[in-house]
Each structure stands twice: as C-alpha cells, then as structure tokens.
Symmetry: C5
Subunit: 365 residues, 5 copies
C-alpha cells in the first residue's frame, strides 16, 4: 500500500509568499489550477415542483438577477483563478474585500464569518483520488444570503452531485426548505466525505499493523512516519472545521432558521466523531512506531543470540584444537594411542553439552 502523497506538506507553508507585502484585500489566486475558464452554473428552485431551473450561465448578469428573486438560487463557480469574475460578484453582492481575498487565497483555515446580510463560510473539501492513491484537498467558499447561496470551488468536480439529484427529484426535505438548509446540506456532504478519508487511513493503519507482524524493514518505518505526518495535517484541518460548525450552531443570525439548526447540531456531532477518530488514529500511529522500534530491538536480540551461541561454542573449541596443533617437542599427550579418537572428542562433546545446557538454562535455545 502506497503512502498517500497529495496532502502535501508544502501546502502548509507556501501560503502567502507570492503576495507578502501586497495591501490586504488584493485579489491574487494562490492555488495551482488554471486550466479551463471558470464555469458558472445556476440551480434555482422553490417548493413548487414546476419552478426548477438548472443551467450553465454564460454571463455574470444572469447570476445577478438572483439576488432579489424569491426562489432559492444556488450559484456555483468552478474555477477562481479569474479574479475579475470574483471582483464583479463581490461588487454586486456587496462583499467585503477581505472576503474576496479569502475566496481566492486558498490557504485558509475553515471558518465562518458573519456579515450584516450574508454569512461567509470557508471549508476544505477532501476527496480520494483512486488513480494517484492520494487525498486531494480543495477550498470551497460559500456566501449564504437570505435567498441565494454562492459557492466557489477551485476546479470542476465535487461531492455535491447527490444533492443536485435530490433537488431535481424534488423528493425529501430540500425543496421545502430555504437557502440555509441548502448550505447545511453542502457542508454535510463535505463532512460526510471526511469519513471516507478516515476509512482509508484506518485501512492503512491496519495494513501497517499486519506488515509489522512479519517484517520490520526500512520502508515500513517511512510509511509510519508519513502516516503520522499526514494525520498531523489532517488534524490541523479538522479542528477548525469543528469550530466552524460549532459557530454555525451557536450563531444568532436570522439567516439560519430554527428548523435548520437541529440539523447543524447533528452535523456538529459528526465533526466531533471525526475529531475523536483522528485523535485515536494519532494515538495508534504513535503506538505503531513504538511497536516498530521494539520489533527492531527484538530482532537484533535474536541475531545477537545466534552469534553468541556459535561464537561461545566454537571459539573455545578452536583454542583446544590450536593447543594440540602446537609444535612443542615435549607434548606427551600427542603420542597416546587414544588421545585423539577418544580423549579429544570426548572433551569436545562435554564442552558442547555444557554450553548447550547453559544456553538452555538462560532460555536462549
């Protein structure tokens, strides 16, 4: 099992280099995706089954009219590298320049900020890449207004497809509730995905545990180290997520209705569960390292015992053979008839037997 590579450590400290010194509020996209032109889609709906519009927007103007409509409008923007679009949206929806900066500046901690007529939510969407055996992280920002929700993603592809399906099908609660429930549903989808990531980590921990039972090579050591480092990073992004959801629950903004609040409480329970699991994983991962080091010591011990047994038996025997190989002229024993076939070999057998008895008593054999 390959170590996950894409929760890259570098993402930790490559944050603001490219914009240090610029005035606050300057829009510079700090992510790496810039392949396609940003894509805007609109889903507009209300309780009535007939009122469902889903389309790709060609111009921003189409999005702007949503601001004052009665229906729930979800404007999704895939691609934030074109800062002009962000700027225009900001102007039209009356967003603070720091909010716009946070949207394009993709090294944010998950957070929730309250403004007079909208909430600003930043999240990390984690997704598992089957090909690359990697976890990919993407910043998702949301602007929750009274009857519109604008979501900003770094690039196409997200975990919201099932929510779109639910809106289209018109079943369930989602069409009956407002914008705040939609925002909740999106955050919930993102949080639910964390459990999948945890499952992958759990499997890696188990596979490492099994590997340690049969082997303790150098690769396992590096795998454990990578696992620990990645859990450190995961934890770093999960803690603020919990805070963010807690803030959402406690918040007294009229933008979040009471009926939605109970769902957010449920969501909060999920983030706690994620936290607990990450902490347990960290504990277990530390235990793996201890296990590894103990295994290495154990193996060294076994090696040393073999060496000691062989050396302790044969070095003395070698000395005895050496004695009888000496060229002194007066060594009467050399001349005795049975000295070699009986005397010598008996001595050897006795010495070996004594040694074996000694090692048995020491429990080395």
């Amino acid at each position: 099992m390959k170590p996950l590579k894409t929760i890259q450590f570098s993402s930790l400290y490559k944050k603001t280099t490219s914009k240090t010194g610029l005035p606050p509020g300057t829009l510079v996209y700090t992510g790496s995706y810039a392949e396609k032109a940003p894509e805007l889609t609109l889903i507009d709906y209300d309780d009535d089954e007939a009122n469902l519009t889903e389309k790709r927007l060609e111009s921003l103007q189409e999005a702007f009219i949503c601001k004052d409509s009665k229906t729930v409008s979800w404007i999704n923007i895939d691609g934030i590298h074109n800062v002009e679009i962000i700027e225009q949206i900001g102007k039209h929806f009356d967003l603070h320049s720091l909010v716009l900066e946070d949207i394009v500046h993709v090294g944010q901690r998950p957070k929730l900020e309250e403004f007079d007529d909208h909430l600003f939510i930043v999240l990390k969407m984690l997704s598992y890449n089957q090909q690359g055996h990697s976890v990919e992280s993407e910043q998702v920002s949301m602007i929750l207004g009274p009857n519109y929700l604008i979501t900003f993603q770094e690039h196409p592809g997200d975990v919201f497809e099932q929510i779109r399906q639910r809106i289209r099908s018109g079943k369930g609660r989602i069409r009956k509730m407002g914008c705040d429930y939609l925002a909740y549903a999106l955050v919930d989808a993102i949080v639910d995905n964390y459990f999948q990531i945890l499952e992958i980590f759990g499997e890696r921990i188990e596979s490492l545990e099994e590997s340690l039972l049969v082997d303790s090579g150098r690769d396992i050591l590096h795998d454990i180290h990578h696992l620990k480092r990645e859990l450190t990073l995961l934890r770093k992004s999960v803690w603020p997520l919990r805070e963010m959801v807690a803030g959402m629950e406690r918040m007294e903004s009229p933008l979040i209705k009471k009926s939605t609040r109970i769902f957010i409480r449920d969501l909060y329970d999920h983030t706690i569960q994620i936290m607990d699991t990450v902490e347990s994983f960290r504990d277990v991962a530390s235990g793996l390292l201890d296990l590894y080091m103990s295994s290495v010591s154990n193996r060294m011990n076994a090696v040393m015992k073999v060496l000691t047994i062989i050396a302790t038996i044969f070095i003395p025997l070698g000395f005895i053979a050496g004695v009888f190989g000496m060229n002194f002229e007066h060594m009467p024993e050399l001349k005795w008839q049975w000295a070699y076939p009986v005397g010598f070999w008996t001595m050897i057998v006795f010495i070996v037997a004594g040694m074996v008895w000694f090692f048995k008593r020491k429990k080395w054999l």
Copy 2:
C-alpha cells in the same frame, strides 16, 4: 491470556460509507445484526402492586396506546434492522427524523438530546463474551417521554434483567418512581457493567506485568500494543458517556424529577471513576511498553556480556596457541623440556585469571 478482539478497530472508520450522500434523516441500519425479526416487549406498571403487565407485543398498535396511559410503560425493541418499525414508532411518538436516523445508525457517540416532550439518549452497552474472550459493544437508544420509555437495542440479550426482576418483585424504589427513574436505572445498569470490563482490562494488565517478569517475547509486545489500542478505543467511548451523564444532571427538563436528580449525581460519580481508571490504565499500559523495551535491552546486554567474556578470554588464548603452532625452524622455546606442561599452561592460567579479575572488577561476573 488472549487479547480481546471484538472492540474492533474497524468500527472506528466504517461509519457512514454505506450512506454517504444520502439525505440526512434517511433510515439505513449500519450495524451487522439482522438474524431474527425485531422483538417488542412491554412492561407497564405503577405504584400499585396489582398493576403490572409484562408481555411480548405482536403489533406496534399495542405499544402506541401506552403513550397516553398514566402508568409507566417501558417498550423495549430488540432488533433495529427493520427500519419500517422504527419509522412507525417515530411517526406515532412524534420523533424527529434525525433521531430515527441516529437510532439505526449504530456508530453514534453517546449523547443526550432534549426535545420539547421527550429526551433522546444514546449509549454503548459493553458486555464481556466469555467464549470469545471478547468485549462486545451494542448501541442502546432511549426515548424518555413523560410516562413512557422506549429502548432500542441492536439484538436480544442485555444487562437489564435485574431491573426487570426488581420491577416484577415490586420491592425497592423502582415501582414508586416514574419513567425518569427507570431510564436512570437502565443507564446505571449499563455503566455498572463498564466496571466489569475494566476489571478484565485490569487483569490483563496484571497478567502482562507478570509475563514481563519472566519473558519478553514478541507476543507480549503485540499484546501490549493491542491493550493500548483497545484502551484508546475504550477511552473514546467513555469520555462522551461522562459528558452525557453530566448533561443529564444539569438539564432543566421537567422530564427529570428532582428526586431522580440525586441518583444521576451518583451515576456521574461512577462515570468519573471509570474515566479515572481508564486514564490510569493508559498510563500503566504505556509504562508496560517502556518496561518491555527496557527488558529487551537488558537481555541484549546480558547476551553481549557472555559473548564478550568468552571471546575476550579465548581469542587471545587462541593466538598464543597459534604462535606455538608456527613452523619457524628457529623457535628455541619449542624444544625446552617444561615449556609445554609448565610454561604454556602457567601462561594460560595467568591470562585467564587476569581476565576474570578484570570482569569481576567491571561487575560482569
């Protein structure tokens, strides 16, 4: 002593996989038990000794009439894999869809939620399986209404038998008090059982300690690792238990009467004791690993000493024997009469004695 196997690690991260993306409030049973049809039993009683009904319910209708009776009704459901039953109960007793989801979704943290006319309690019931040397965990959910208590268990078999006995016998306090006391009694029975689990852990720690005195094989290492991992998991389920009971004590709901509150305070003391013990066990288990690693080092040291003593004595002797085995033509000492029997052996004895003296001084012998 076998390591406990059933507080399975997998239970940590296999949580929502099967339902990621479904709308919140969707009922999908995530546990593994689905053998028998769910079994409903009713115990209905009040202060009067005559008023005791205990029966197995054939239809849900029988349960629904309890909602408005004056007597205390305890409806117990063994088996939650039939989500339709849960749904009907939910509809009749006016439960929020998220509550129903939590009941069938068996990866919940212990928690307490307050609603207008009922409380929702989730707990883990641990029980020790004698055959499998394993601790089994089962989610128990409770709905506490003004005069009814509904309990949901994953499968038959629980720790409530003695409470049923107390109700039947009519002795003691339980018949005189309300539904809230019954709920307390059930939670108390579950918490009491944790002490038994702790006892098992305590015995394992002691047995590991004794094993470490005589041996430090590879198996003990893995046993210690398992113990630590299981304590991590146990801790993870005990912390929220404590919070839950604390919430129950502080809660100002009219559903919990003042006379019951003092019992909950006592229960809270028990959860604190459990926490303390788990933390102490974790401390001691970490100490075991240190002990193990030190023992391995110690043993290696002993092995090395034996090797060193033997090699240090006999390698020089071997050299001396080698010298006198050389074939130089002019080695006058080889011709002396007493060179071998006296000179050579005296030299050997002196060298050995010197070495032994040296080792004695070094305290290796």
Copy 3:
C-alpha cells in the same frame, strides 16, 4: 528498599463486581475488614471545661440523643461491615440511601455532597505500615450536621489521636469552635498524613537515583515501574481530594462558619502542595526510567568496546600466526634465523601499537 505493595492495583477495578445489578441504595460492604464488631465511641464537648464526655457506646440509642443536644458530639464508628448499624444511623439522622451506600461501598472517590441539614464527606486516609513497608488506604466518611459529626472508618486505628488529645486538654481553639471546625481538623489531620507518604516516596526516588549510579539491574527497572504505577494511583486519589477541599471552601452552606473558612483555605493550600509534589515526583520518576535506559545503553556500549578492542587486536594476530603455521613446503621465511624472535614479534608489536593508537584516537581507551 522494598517497593510499596499495598496501594494495590487491584483496588482500581475490583469495585462493584460484587454488587453489579443490585438496585442503587443497596447496602453491601465492599471492603475486606470484618474482624471485630463495630466499635462506637462518643466525644461530647463544648466550650466549658467541665462538659467533656468521652465514652464507648454500647447501644446506638446513646448516639441518637446527640442529634438534638447543644454540645458538639463526635460519634466515631470503627467498622462498617455491619450494615444494620449503618442503616439505623441513616434512619435516625435522616441520611439519603445513596449516602449510606457510599459509606459502606469503599471504592469511592473523595467527594463532598451537600444536603439540606448535613454535609457528606468521603476521604481516603493513607497510613504507612512500618512492618509491611506498605501504604494502607482506608475510607473515612463524615456526616457533618449542625452540632454533630459522625465519622465512619473501616477498622480501628486512625490519625486522629492528637485531635482527641487536644479536645481532652481543652487547650487551643478546638473546644471553642463548633462542629465544622472539628470536621476541618479531622480532614486536616488526614491531609497532613499525605505529606508523610510523600516523604516515603521521595526517599524511594532518591534511593533509586543512588542505585542507578552504581548499578542498572533488572530489579531497579521493576522498582521504577512500580514507583510510576503507584504514583499514578496516588495522583488518582489526590486530584479529587483537592476538588473536595475546594468545594468545601467555596460552599455557601450555613453548616460551615466564616471563622472556619479561613482554615479551609489554608487546608486547600496544603492539597495544592501535595498535588504539585505528586506531579513533580511523576516527572522525576519518568526521568528515572530514561536514566535507566540510557545507563543500560551506556553499559552495553562499554561491553561492546571491550569486545571490539580484544577482537580487533587478536583476530588479525591470530591470522598471522596461522599463516606461519601453514605447511607449504616453500615458505623461505620460516627458515631464516631471526625470522621468529625478531621479525615475527616486531610485526606483532607494531600491529598492536597501531591498533592501540587507533583506539586512543577514537577515545575508546
């Protein structure tokens, strides 16, 4: 110095086994002392020097009249295995059944509970047993009423003798103050005794430190492990003690007068000091283990050096001797006159000198 044995680990988890499933409030003594019949003594006094009664009570009735007398009455019960006596006291003094349960159920955490007309205090009294080199723990419960104090001890023998002496002599403050001061004085006596226990631990730490300077045998390792485990247990009983005294200080019950409160603040300082010391001891004990492991490594290093020096010098020499012991027919050097006495030995001396120089440079010699 023997490890202390009687802060038994088992006391951690053998708590409620014998009573799991019984209804709360059931009186079952869970301790191990049941040798003699419970012994009741009464000390009754007030400010007036004449009013001092000290006697052994034959019947509970004698104790009951104290409830309404004006004088301060201290009823001490040695032996709580006779639950009937406890039950009668409970009935007469109007104690909650959970309080009675906690009195006989000797695995309690130290705690303080407030009731309408009395306080309930539970403590652990530690005492050092000179013979057994052991620390013995005994649960002491107190019921503090407006003018009576009832103390329950598991068995005869306590640390209160000097307080009795002070009451008898009539000197000092104790006769002038009320029941609350008496309770304080008893708790203070118990807490003071903890310092003696700490002193014993301190001495053991110092003796282990000295042992580590000269030796690092297997026994020391187990002593350190025991020390750490015992400190874990000691800590577990000291933390709630601190909480309990803090609660006593903050409490707004009329049962504790303002003049006594300042003494409790002083007592609180003592418990903080005990906590600090236990934490420091834990730190130092962890350091001891590190020291031990480093010592073992160091020693192994020394052993390895000796082996390496001897082997590195004599194995090559042995090879040289072996070469000249070969039986080739054409080895001209064997025939030279001075080959052995000068050539061979000079070579040996040079090799040894070179090796010694090498080891000196490596600082192994």
Copy 4:
C-alpha cells in the same frame, strides 16, 4: 543546508542581567545595536493627494508638532540605543516610564497595553538573512495615538517598504483611513513575514526528511536537535503574538475604529494559521527524531547481521581446520588418500550450505 543560527538561544536568558536592581522605569538599552545615530523619519498624510510629506527629521521638535495636527503622522525611529531621545519623546507624548523602559528593553514578549490616550504595542519582527542563513529578530514598538503613530525599531531596515510605497502612491485604502489602519497595516506586514520564516523551516524539515532516507550521520542528529530548539523558540514568540492580536480585536478603545476591526479579525486568522503551522512543525520534527533513532537501530541491525553471518559460518570452519591441524600421532583420517580433496571439502560445503539455508529461513539473507 546549514542550521539557522541567529534565533540565538542566549536571547532567552540574557534578559535583565545588566539592569537587575535598577528602579523600574530606568531606561537602559539591552540590545546589541549601537552603530549609527538614531534616524527619525516622518510620513504625514491624509486623504487629499496633495497632503503627503515624507522627510528625515533633524530634530525631535519637528516630530512634536505632529501630536496636534489633523493629518495622520507616522514617526519612525531607527535606533533606540540613544535613550535621551526616547525620554524626550516620552515626555512630550506623555508616555508612562514603564512604556519607555519596555521600548528600550528589547527582551519583551509581544504585548498590547491600553492607556487613556494611546495604545502601546510590542512585536518581534523576524527577517531572513540570506547571507548568514539566519533568522534575525528585532523588537518593534508602536505608540498609537488618535492621529499619530510612533514606531521604534532597533536598527535600520524593515519590512514596511511596501506600505510606504502604498502611502506614496495614494492608491488603495490606506490614505483614506486613519492611524489605526496604518498600525494594523504595519502589524500585518510583520505577521506576513512570519509565513516566509515558516517556509524556510518547512524546507529545512523536508530537506532533513530526504537526508534521513539516505543517511543517518551525526550531523543530521544535531540538525534535528537545532530545528527542534528553534521551533521551541519560534513558538515562544508566536503564542503571545496571537494573544496580542486577539486583544487588539476585542479591545473597546475608541482609538481603533470599527472599519479597521474587520481587518484585525483577518489578521487574527493569520496568527492562528501561524500557530497551527508551528505546532504541526513541532510534531513533525519530533517524528524526525524518532525516524532518526529508528534508522540508526535499523542500520545497527544490518551491521550485526553481516557480522553474525560471517562469524557463524567461518568460526566453525576454522575449528574444523584446526582439528586437522593437530599434531596427534594417531589420527588415521590424515592418512587417507581422499580425505582432504573430497572428505574435507565436502564437509565444508555441507556446513556452509546448511548455514545459508538457516539464514535464508531467518530472512537474514
């Protein structure tokens, strides 16, 4: 990659030595820079593009008139070793003697103090010195009045150049806002620079990780130790920074306007991110040490295996050769025709093959 050297450890404890015992409020510069005369510069501006003055001040008098002007005046002082200047500023701007002391006493923790008509801010400005591979730390103090900002730096050179540029260009928000925004902008510039320092640390960690894959020499060990120590120091200066900014956000002083407050909230997010990163780095750095120690053990294991394999094969063979080199007169095997070419070598081959098989089974080969 060289370890950073200039976050000097000595800066931790060389704090007040030179002034211990002096009365509080005594002005003694405790830094090391005293090369040039202090340099005073003034930037004075308001919203109007024409009103921009930027000049080097020759006398303090020029600075004093700013106190009562309407425009925003930023007085910057490079060099605080001339305490007389500080004293005069203090007198004119009505600063408390302890504030003046903190300005020249350069071992302060970052902090924020509120006075009636000004705020006092102390910060550490970190900057990376390309030549010396070192991080340099400089104390920056600020006095924020209603319409003036006085900044004190230890020596010339700072991270404020881009802010000066923004003021000069008159673009953006800075000319339109007050003194408090200027103060925010300076603090923001300093905090932004911390990310660069973190990037350097991140690169060092990665380079150490790569080194550990190929080597585990002594130098790496010391590099890891230095890294950990420097992170300890960095953390020590980042924690109070966070507190300081938090205080700035919560503060209810009229000196900080509401419109600026939202920027400070953003700044606070940055300090949290820095904290998180430092904590993660510490975690990873601890992991590096574990990795190092495990690598060393692994390598030792490999060395031991080679030794054991060679010794275990050849020591017995040596004994056999020794046996046939003995000089007993009656060793019939020596005389057999095929004893040496067939018998001896077959035996050797069998023994070696057996050993190799044994090592293969043990997975040492």
Copy 5:
C-alpha cells in the same frame, strides 16, 4: 560545570513531618537556620527628604509605634527561628494565627492572602551562591498594612540592597509613593533575580550541548537528569509566583493604589516571561536527553562497524590459513613451488579487496 546542588529535592517532601498532628496555628520554625539572634531593622520615610530614619531595633516596642505613624515604615526581620518575636508581632499587628504559622513554616507555595486591614504575601527568594555553585532558596513573607510593611526573612542577606539605596538617596519614585509601591519594589527585586538564575540554567544547557558534541559519557547523562529535575523544581516554584502576582494585579483592595497597579502589570509580564523561559528550557532539556541517547546509539554503531569490518575480513582469512596448516598427507597444493608466495597471497589480496569493496558499497568505510 558542576550540577547545581542546593535546590535540594528533599525540600519537596520534608515539609510538615516535624509538626504533623499539631493544631493548626502552632508556631514551629521548619527551616534550618538558627545561628544568630533575629535582627530587626526599621526604615521609616516619607516624601520629605528630612524624614528618613534607618536603624537597627533593639526592642519590638520600637517597631510597634510604626503601626500608627503617617510615614511609610519598613520593618525587616532577619531570622524567624525565634517564634516568640513572631508571636508578639502577630498580636500587635493583629495577624491571624495561620499567617504566623505560614511565616515560620518555610515550605509554603508563593501566595497572596487578603485580610481586612493587611495583605499577606509569601515568596521564594532565589540567590546564586558563587562558592557552592548552588542556588539557594529562602522564604520571604510580607505583611502589607496601610502605612507599614513588615518583611520576614530566614537569615541575613537579601536582594533588597539597591532598594534601600534608592530610599536613602531619595531619588526616583520610591520616596513619593506609599507602602504598596515599596512592597511592589521588593517583589520586583526578587523576581528580577529569577532572571539571573535562568541565565545560569541557560549556560548549563549550552555547556551540556557543547559537551554532547564531543563526548557522551555517563557524567553527562547524570548532569542532564539533574538539570531536568531542577527545572521541574524551578517550575514548581515559578507557577504559583505567577498566580500570586496575577492575584495582586486583579485584587480590589484599597491597600494597593491605582498608580502602583500599572507597575504590578509590568511585574506580571516578567513572571510570564520567566514561565515561558522555564518551559522552553524543559523542552530543550528533554531534547538533550534524546540527543544523548541518539549519540550513544550512534557511537555503538561506530564501534560495531569496526568490529564487523575486522572480524569479517580476518575470520575467513584465518580459516584459509588454518586449511593450509592442516596435516593431511595428501595435500598436493602444499608442494607446489609458487603456492605460498603467489597463490596464497593473491587469494588473500582478492578476498580483502572484495570485502573492502563490499564495505564501501555499504558506506561503512
């Protein structure tokens, strides 16, 4: 560099042994100084330069008149082993018996207690003893009344000389301010001295770090252990100091004037700095131990490599020489002319070259 010896560990647990069981409020001096008779000095001053009295008091009566004078009176008592003096002061200045007990009972944690008309402050004064390479700790207690300050020291010699000088000279703030400022100044002098102690610890850490670069002997190990233990003790006395100063700042007693409060805030900053430094030192000291253990492992590795290289080269060579030393009659190679000078030595050279190549590839050479 010698380890500091006088922050004796014993001071941790030798606390109340000699007085266990005595009634609270009993005056027993628990320190070790009792050489000279207690010495009382009085410094009496006010704002007016003429009103300065400094004298040694012969009788307590002279001190008592200060209680009601208008001037600031500082009564200093060197030597508290004469409890009668303490008792009389207590009686005259109306001190609680527990305060008197704390004064003579020198194992107190630093603390601050508020009474109706005075404050009680306890501190540890640390001072570095140049001769003994030791840190000495002395308890200083203060009674701060409206216009008098009484300080109790265990023995002559303190860090207050510069404060006395400032009073005498009449310069600066001290003569103009009240008793509370004097108390602050004394506490400040004591706290300032902690920085000196920290400097000594810092130097020891640096010297240990340098030693570890060249050596890793047993002594360094014990020095590190001592350092860690002493830092544990230092921390234990610094934490309550911080609390004490924080309490002094927050306190709403009229005894501390507003103008003094700002100085106490500054003092509080100092205690935070001390705490930070102690915590950093503890971190670094733990790092030193890791460094030590890694160094030992590294060295062992180096030793093992030398052994392995020598043994791996020469044991096989020894075997070959042994083969040609065998006495088989039919060993044709022994008779070949060039077998020894060419064949044998070529074989040896090839084997050695192969081994060296192998070791080079393994990077052991």
